[in-house]
Amino acid sequence: MNIITIENITRLYEVGSEEVRALDGVSLSIDKNEYVAIMGPSGSGKSTLMNILGCLDTPSTGSYLFKNVQVSDMSDNELAEIRNREIGFVFQTFNLLPRANALHNVELPLIYAGIHAAKRKSMAVDALTRVGLADRMHHKPNELSGGQRQRVAIARALVTQPAIILADEPTGNLDSKTGEDIMTLFSEIHNQGNTIILVTHEEYIAEHAARIIRLRDGLIERDESNPHSRRPGSYKASPSK
């Protein structure tokens, strides 16, 4: 079943008097339980595409079907609802609330979903346990290492059992060893049946995915499966090529 189907999407920005085409007609579809990497140099439009896929932004033209529902012309609040229920974000800079502890950070999307305190807590504890942070639940982000912070962010993305997990350069602020641990965690999550979309400009990170979409100048340059998708633990220090 297709979770995401986008057709001929464009996104225009006005910078001063000039019009910039960040996306210039992109079409793709993503199935359930796919592990897709979106690659491209900076300025290729991959952040814009991610924002649109994540329902943070809406396309200028084109159609976006999310689980067969048209989302390209939804209101702010409807998009917020979709983000809350269906999308789990993992950011390069973690984006945790600094004043809330790990548990509260993970509970936050459940609060917005209107889930009762007791159930919320047990769900958040489960998610933190899944990412191996059961003993760090009451720590604030600044008391955690970078890798641990990213695990909290992943727990927060997982806790609502979303349809897709969108990770934007999830290893960008981590050293390569920690980065590899995080990628291993993503592979595990994928193996548990989740759909993952990974945005990166690092080839060796993208190679974890089973399918790699390469963007250039707002267009899809190549969209191919990656038969060599590396299994967890087969990390090599030097990127291929």
Binding site: A80, E81, R99, A100
Partner: protein, 410 residues
Amino acid sequence: MNRYWFELKEGVLFSLKAIRVNKIRAMLTTLGIIIGICSVSLMSTAIKGMDKAFQEGISALGSDNIYVSKWPWFDDHEWWRIRRRPNITVQDFDKFQSLAKKPIAMAPTIISMCKLQYNDSYIESALITGTTAEYVKTTNFEFASGCFMTGIETDGARNVAVIGHDVSENLFKFVNPINQEIEMNGVKFKIVGVLKKMGSNLLGGFNPDNQVYIPLGSAYRYFVHRFRSIDIVVRAANTAMVKETAEEAEEVMRRVRSLKYNEENNFAVNQQEGLTSRFDKVVMVIKIVGFFITGLSLLVGAIGIMNIMFVSVKERTKEIGIRKAIGAKRRTILTQFLSEAALICLMGGLIGLGLAVLASIALDKVLPTSIQVDTILIAIFISLITGVVSGFIPAYSAAKMDPVDALRYE
């Protein structure tokens, strides 16, 4: 429904955290609200206190009374037209009494000051009222001990006195005053009655607590020059009868004075209604000035809150982005920042109320004040509303932020 509740709870809890992080900032911001709420509650308390004191003073004397006097209480006449008015004499009163049918009680009164002494205790200058036995029927006096002067005592101008509560407290600390003799300007008077505490001390002369009542004849003999004018106190049967009784009093007095139809009154019929309306005017002015000042300080406070909320929203742009990314709606963000502004104001309001309570305890010595529950509720309500109103624009700007821009903000 749950959702609103959880969002509100989350908003309030997180606001508390945010306020705790910036304690000093929140304190300074809320200073305007503290001052505003403190003054609004003190103001309404003081006005209530004055009102209460006034009402007590009035009701101690009887609110259905009419006073026939030489001069009007509130002088709207040119002084030269009324300065040659004749005195109201005891003879005038006797005629008046025989002609007036509507009043349930009438009494002549005359006022003076004198020194009171009992052994070593003394009062330098106390207000004394010379009157007749019937005077008590024009008041609502209650007696702590003894009773009012009898007709025999007043007609015979005996040296007897009825004293007010405060006079009794000051002169007789350990002795029962009844049958004790006090010296009034050196003349001995026997105490026959002591009043219960009646009014407050706001209205000075209108308060029976610091007065001494003696027979009219004795007053003339010892304290008052015989050419002084008396006042006639007239008690109407009830409040509804006050107007009629006053009209009759005017007519009767004209007959007593044998005035022709084209002659002006050469006396005045005073009513407490006049006093009350004067008092209300004064209170109204105090209210307007007070609430203007209060409103101004609340406005300044509100601007401070708005300013700091803008700063808070700007500082937390990233947080807003994060919250939106994981599913916060506009409403959620709005709730969060509104509750922060409201909480800051509420804290200011509570501090202001606390200060007002302390101040009113200190003020109680001058005015019978006490902060009422409705004042507290109004103060809390005003501070919450101020918070919500002043926080709205910043909170709205936060709520409609674009999540992509907000997330990118550093």
